[in-house]
Amino acid sequence: MKKGFLLFLLTCVSLPLMGQAKLKIVTSMSDLAEFTRTIGGDRVEVQNLVRGSQNPHYLDVKPSYMMKLKSADAFVVIGMQLELWGQQIIDGSRNANLLVIDCSQYVHKMEVPATKLDASAGDIHPFGNPHYWLDPENIRLIFQGIFEGLVKLSPHDQEYFQSNMDAYLKRLDLKIGEWKTVMAPLKGKKIVTYHSSFSYLAERFGLQVVGYVEPKPGIPPTPTHSAELINLMRRAGVKVIGLEQYYEDNTPRQIAETTGATVVRLSTAVGGLEGTDDYIALMEYNIRSLATALK
């Protein structure tokens, strides 16, 4: 009888504590960290690996990242082999219960290679271009992936997660409408970018990416390719080179000087440049920068 009472007391005390335990989530990119915090609210504790200013393709496999994953409930990733370093960190974490939420499972993929791949094509991602989060319409799909993952871990919070998600997407839809209005007059305009990071963004807003500063994905610029690109830009009347926050600007500036184009620093991730502290600010920054340069 005494034991039963003690057990009851213990359960009463521990239930609210259990309710307060936050889900520990690690994300590969700052954008995913913001999305997870938005949906999870005060029920999640989020840590991120790649800073906004870093190139997500390359990350040193550090034991400190393994420690973050060791106690995590889930690891949210972009997928499509963007995080080639991810599996080593997962293995090093020794966390057998880790749930990996691969957001690429939920989106429509662009530039999926249709032929046999080899390294002569550069650092091609075999599952397609992984920079899909730069299309704001894809955020709804990414949210769905994170939402399903969080619900799996904490089913009783489903309604809470749903209402957080709906509130954000409502706000985002309004912004997407504004961005479409801003970009509408620029439909069909041609741009060049350093890497194929902005294919999804260009597709959404009707821009045409006609060339890249890299001769092949992941391959540093060469004089021959730069000369070809200059000719192409002159023929096509390209006036804007979009440059990701982490690439060197020597070659793009030389090309811009020769062609009379403008180099526009764009950010591929939240926190990549000043004024891109959250996803809406990031897209606002990219859209306004492109719109100003293309006018």
């Binding site: 040193d60 550090k62 060791k70």
Partner: protein, 365 residues
């Protein structure tokens, strides 16, 4: 002949996997990394007629890596190496399975033949070094092949809060010790096990830099006939600063203390000798594709404290397309001091070319 064997291994493995599963996604990751070299030195001439010999082309090593998950709990890594173009034998450099999940205490178990986690550099394949020559302390105390042995390894994460601290312990067959520098040939009837351990901690210093510190120990029988034992203690560190994708600086060093019982005189008596060695290097990446570094190393002989060598090297790296192709140029001066008081200085210049086919993974920090 050796190449026929190697080709046969590659074709057989590829064929087996392809026919058995019929899906390329289930094939293991196959990588090939050859290291070519052109070098010259002035060490083979008489001291008063010092001149560099004609540069010599050579294939340092051809490495074939096969890596795959065996199941959700374990993965396997096999590295086959063929040094040189001549009759040097094809070697199984490493072949081990690692059990990553499902074990108590989050333990990892490694079984097979592998480069032992002793110090920082021993585990790293030479293509991942920023320089071309093995530091003298490693060469003299661990031999040409390093501590590479058959055995069983268990590693544990030590609960130190957010700090990553790992303890690895090994039980080894002792073959690499028996075949090491100056070691006696093993008596095949006897087994002289060796034991190794390493405790390492990883400290994030700030947003852009990290520090790793490790303490290793190794003990075994270096003379199976006389049952003479040795003990190595090794302290290592690695500091890396990487503010952006185009700039980084690595400062790394190791110091090794050797204490061993050696035969003295004709009588079956022995004495204990203590010798040591160390290296330290810095490597600066100043553009995305260029690195420049320098190394100083010093080491006594495992058997004689008056047999010493010191070296200074400058090395330059050029990586035109990430890690798929690498050119490294190194100048090294090595000074040998012999027990009789003599000394000899050797200058060497070497150019190395490495290419890498396949998805051989990035090496951890």
């Amino acid at each position: 002949m050796q190449y026929w064997k190697l080709s046969f291994i590659i074709m057989t493995l590829s064929g087996c996997w392809a026919s058995a599963f019929g899906q390329s996604t289930l094939n293991p990751d196959i990588s090939v990394i050859p290291r070519f070299r052109i070098d010259t030195d002035d060490g083979s001439n008489l001291p008063d007629e010092r001149s560099f010999r004609n540069p010599r082309f050579s294939l340092e090593e051809f490495e074939l890596a096969l890596q795959a998950y065996l199941n959700p709990y374990a993965r396997a890594d096999i590295f086959i190496a063929k040094p040189g173009f001549e009759d040097e034998p094809v070697e199984i450099e490493e072949a081990y399975a690692t059990f990553l999940r499902g074990l108590p205490l989050d333990m990892n178990i490694r079984l097979g033949k592998y480069l032992v986690e002793f110090g920082k550099l021993n585990m790293l394949h030479p293509h991942a070094w920023p320089f071309l020559s093995k530091p003298l302390s490693l060469e003299r105390f661990m031999g040409e092949e390093g501590i590479n042995d058959l055995g069983l390894s268990a590693s544990f994460l030590i609960p130190t809060g957010d700090l990553y601290t790992r303890l690895t312990v090994d039980i080894l067959q002792g073959l690499s010790i028996a075949n090491g520098p100056g070691m006696e040939s093993p008596d095949e009837e006897r087994v002289s096990y060796a034991n190794a351990a390493r405790l390492m901690s990883f400290f994030p210093v700030d947003t852009n830099s990290d520090l790793e510190i490790g303490l290793s120990g190794l003990t075994g029988i270096h003379d199976p006939l006389a049952e003479l034992r040795f003990h190595y203690v090794n302290l290592d560190f690695k500091y890396k600063w990487k503010p952006d994708a185009y700039t980084s600086f690595v400062l790394q060093g190791e110091g090794l203390l050797n204490r061993r019982r050696v035969s003295s005189g004709v009588e079956p008596s022995s004495e204990v000798i203590t010798t040591s060695g160390f290296y330290v290097f810095g490597d600066y990446q100043f553009r995305k594709i260029f690195t420049l570094g320098a190394r100083y190393d010093w080491a006594q002989s495992p058997y004689d404290k008056d047999d010493k060598a010191s070296g200074f090297a400058i090395f330059f790296g050029f990586y035109p397309v990430e890690e798929t192709t690498a050119f490294r140029l190194q100048y090294q001066n090595t000074l040998f001091n012999t027990p009789d008081g003599g000394s000899r200085s050797v200058n060497s210049i070497a150019l190395q070319f490495i290419f890498s086919m396949g998805p051989h993974k990035a090496h951890p920090f």
